[in-house]
């Protein structure tokens, strides 16, 4: 048993649990193996990981580092002042990410078929929400400056 654990790198139970899990996942994937859209399932599965790990994450990490660097160039940056930009930008970006299909009017056709409505209002609403978030943050920053 010890020899197994040493050469495999973990206990036999580790191997059994992972094999069972991967086999169940493969069984689920096999259900769409004959589907004409099988490559699309695969592309969306793998693409979701690639887009998150190699596009979304580097993008927001880079934006965040740039914001922090900009704040550091102030004469006497107060600790944490970057968060007054970070928080509204993050919340606004999150709303844009999640509600992209209606904000960008990308799904207007199917939405119209279903509801009989158009998607004209959503971009304006998101912009107003974004304005409110940054304004709220600015007010908090100003109040903080007065208190300090």
């Amino acid at each position: 048993m010890r020899a197994f654990a040493r050469s495999y790198g973990a206990s036999p139970l580790h191997l059994l649990a992972l094999c069972a899990s991967i086999a169940l996942a493969a069984a689920a994937a096999l259900r769409v193996a004959d589907d004409p859209a099988r490559l699309r399932y695969l592309a969306w599965f793998a693409g979701a990981v690639v887009l998150h790990d190699l596009v979304l994450f580097p993008l927001y990490a880079l934006l965040d580092r740039s914001a922090a660097a900009l704040v550091r160039r102030q004469r006497r940056p107060a600790p944490g002042s970057v968060n007054y930009v970070r928080a509204p930008a993050l919340l606004s970006g999150l709303l844009l990410l999640v509600f992209w299909p209606v904000i960008s009017r990308h799904s207007e056709g199917a939405y119209g078929t279903a509801s009989g409505l158009d998607q004209s209002g959503f971009l304006g609403r998101w912009l107003l929400l974004t304005a409110a978030l940054f304004l709220g943050s600015a007010v908090l920053y100003a109040l903080r400056g007065r208190r300090a």
């Binding site: 899990s21 991967i22 169940l24 996942a25 689920a28 259900r31 769409v32 993050l90 509801s115």
Partner: protein, 458 residues
Amino acid sequence: MSTARLAQDGEHGEHGEHGAGSPAPSYGFPGPLWRTLERLRPPGPLFRADLWRSPLRGPWLTSVLASVLLVGLPVLVLTGLLSYAAYEPRFPGNAFPADPGWLRLPDFSWPARPSWLYRLNQGVHVGLGLALVPVVLAKLWSVVPKLFAWPPARSFAQVLERLSLGLLVGSILFELATGVLNIQYDYVFGFDFYTGHYYGAWVFLAAFAVHVALKLPVMVTALRSRSLREELRTPLSRTEPEPPDEHGLVAPSPAAPTISRRGLLGLVAGGSAAITAVSIGETLGDAVRPTALLSPRGRSYGDGPTDFQVNRTSRAAGITPEVTGDGWRLVLKGGPTEVSLDRAQLLAMPQHTAELPIACVEGWSTVQTWTGVRLRDLAALAGLAAPSAGVVRSLEQQGAFAQATLSGAQLTAGDALLALRVNGADLSPDHGFPARVIVPAAPGVHNTKWVREIELRA
């Protein structure tokens, strides 16, 4: 063997360069392979641990986020599977995927009471799924150094575990992406949403179960390493990195903090709250619907009796005034003789009024006051007082839900109606004139509109 032992073994060889004083890395069989791999580190900063500078990353932070997901994600899976069951997949044509083979759920009759059952199920499924998006993103942020750790593995055990993590991350992102797109009518993925979301859930379930089994002891230990209450009282000025860890999460040379841990957790919670704030109104009802600023079902149609959410317009369904006019008949089949009724005859039958929701799989719902003939009265009229099932067919020629099979329980429920009127007015064309089905606790699309025929089964 306990799961603690299981996890410990899984951690073998992940010590490496992180944390002074951790034991030397051990390699599985064949040793030379893993040692060679370790030497083949690609040039550049990406695969170096000191690229990661955040002083907040560490086992405790990851575990706090993980504990939220440990509660939330099983609820998502459960409500998702229940939603599939609510479509009554035992009847052909009712649910997609039609035949999941080994992955089918046990057959049971979806109850027709309480009427808000499906509304609650989908409100939770979609509302929680949306709210967990920032938590999942934060969790992935917290473990990203492990994605780029070098070597990627020091044993076959670690290769398998990384493969399984790939399935876990792939499936959660796949499920969130398809769900978020589907509730906004964006079918850019080009496959059947239900099918992809159902099988994706099984991939997720498989990978999630083994991840929890392997990591639960690590999570519990990490949660005990700091007090949440204390952490929520710690301002930026007193924020320190977590002590060096054996998992490779704590930065070896952390930058000065720019946000406290409570600040980061607050941002994640704020993200969940913001998403919820601009979407929950579509689930809670017409009074607060306008607060759902960014969800597709936050918009009002007006304040007339038939001005409520439409799922498929009569125009899109190809329903013309000619087919719904005086020539329209409801045909009841399956009894000793076929019965045909026009709208006046239906209105002359005993009318029943019930307050029932239309609750969509997409999470939105709307409760209205429906008036019409009880389905069980129609069944009795057809000569089948206790049908086992009934296929309801629409005038609509195309569309995945131009017909739906209702169970015996649904057909005989006291409030299950062939509705002719809503809120005191005749149904509008978009809401199914001349007659539509409305069944308590059924998924919205099973409330067939523009009904032409009900075929009952003994």
